[in-house]
């Protein structure tokens, strides 16, 4: 099971700001071990954020994104106490979904 994300969501003047920190190795597939063997590519391919069953952010990630990626986005709406859920899928088919409560 992949490691959890850290998600912080705050609403201000009707706009919710979501900060996501994901735990992932994000291997490019271009790096080699000390003995020369290639480290296979392993990276997040899709990130999706949902609010009240509605997708508010969708992103496609590739090899160029760093290890333990950090993502910030804003969407219109949202109220304190409500939940935002974020999920990602990687190229091995592993996935992780976490939720955060919006703070004022």
């Amino acid at each position: 099971m992949p490691n959890p994300m850290k998600i912080r969501a705050t609403v201000k003047d009707g706009v919710t700001e979501v900060k996501i920190l994901m735990q992932h190795d994000m291997e490019t597939g271009l790096r080699k071990e000390a003995d020369g063997t290639l480290i296979p590519a392993w990276f997040i391919t899709e990130v999706k954020a949902q609010y009240q069953g509605r997708t508010v952010m969708e992103a496609q990630f590739g090899q160029s994104v760093s290890k333990n990626p950090y993502l910030l986005f804003r969407f219109k709406g949202g109220a304190a106490g409500e939940k935002v859920s974020v999920s990602w899928v990687d190229n091995k088919g592993e996935s992780r979904t976490d939720e955060a409560t919006i703070a004022a």
């Binding site: 850290k6 900060k19 996501i20 920190l21 735990q23 760093s66 333990n68 950090y70």
Partner: protein, 273 residues
């Protein structure tokens, strides 16, 4: 005559324009940009994951004795983690030694949990392949001093002695490169590549900023690095023999640097390029 004056005016105009351009360019330096970058990702510091891991380890029963570290005395009483790092290194009666955080954790892991010193010292730092328990524990403890003012006391003669030894090590030139910490860290305004080198012995602010932002997550390494690692790597860069983990010498150097940072709010774990 007239044309000469026009030329003069044009020349002046051109000169002032080029000065303005130079001024604008120097206004945003590389270190400013690095600072901007740090600010942008400061609330997304992956060191938090290491803090989480450390907290779990702190509370988990482990070792031959199957106990947690919750009875570990970091200097503020058994189990008190909050603010402990801001007062370390400190003299501990039970060990009769001045100890920094990591050497104290080593004591707790051996006396409470029953690990052997060699077992822990074999894996003192995190690597890409494997996390280090003692390093994660240190990240957790350090995080509990965030926002607390550094207050390392040198009242105890042993701490004072440790400080003096640390200062001497800082200035001690040796090794194949005839290097000392002070070779790079005792002058203001010098840099290596794009990195500003903090003046740790003559500039209070530099010393404070440097100490209060370690341990730190190194973006280029994808790892959270402990303070013992920082010192170990400094010795490596100077081509000194590798210091023993949590040795008296490393603790002394830590005491020197920690005391120099007194008065500043602790801000770690930090984030480095």
């Amino acid at each position: 005559m007239r044309t000469k004056q026009t030329y003069k005016a044009l020349l002046l105009l051109a000169l002032s324009a080029s000065f303005a351009a130079v001024a604008a360019e120097t206004a945003v330096t590389d270190s400013d940009r690095i600072e901007q970058y740090r600010e942008m990702i400061s609330d997304g510091n992956p060191a938090e994951f290491d803090e989480m891991r450390g907290e779990e380890l702190w509370k988990k029963a482990a070792g031959p004795n199957k106990v947690s570290l919750e009875q570990c005395d970091l200097g503020k009483g058994a189990g008190v983690v909050k603010g402990a790092y801001a007062e370390l290194p400190k003299f501990f009666k039970d060990t009769q030694q001045v100890q920094d955080l990591e050497s104290r954790l080593l004591t707790c892991m051996t006396t409470l949990q029953g690990f052997t010193e060699d077992e822990i010292a074999a894996k003192p730092f995190a690597s890409e392949k494997k996390a280090s328990d003692i390093s994660s524990l240190a990240t957790y403890v350090v995080g509990q001093s965030k926002g607390i003012k550094m207050a390392v006391s040198t009242k105890h003669p042993k701490v004072k002695e440790s400080y003096e030894i640390g200062k001497r090590i800082f200035n001690y030139r040796a090794g194949p490169y005839d290097f000392a910490c002070s070779t790079c860290h005792a002058t203001t305004g010098v840099r290596i590549r794009m990195q500003d080198l903090p003046n740790l012995s003559h500039n209070k602010k530099d010393a404070q900023t440097a100490y209060t932002t370690w341990p730190a997550y190194r973006v280029s390494q994808g790892l959270t690095r402990s303070f013992q690692w920082r010192l170990n790597d400094c010795f490596r860069q100077q081509r000194f023999p590798e210091p023993k983990f949590a040795s008296e010498a490393t603790v002394a150097l830590t005491t020197f640097l920690a005391v120099s940072a007194n008065g500043a709010e602790f801000a770690g774990p930090g984030l480095k390029r």
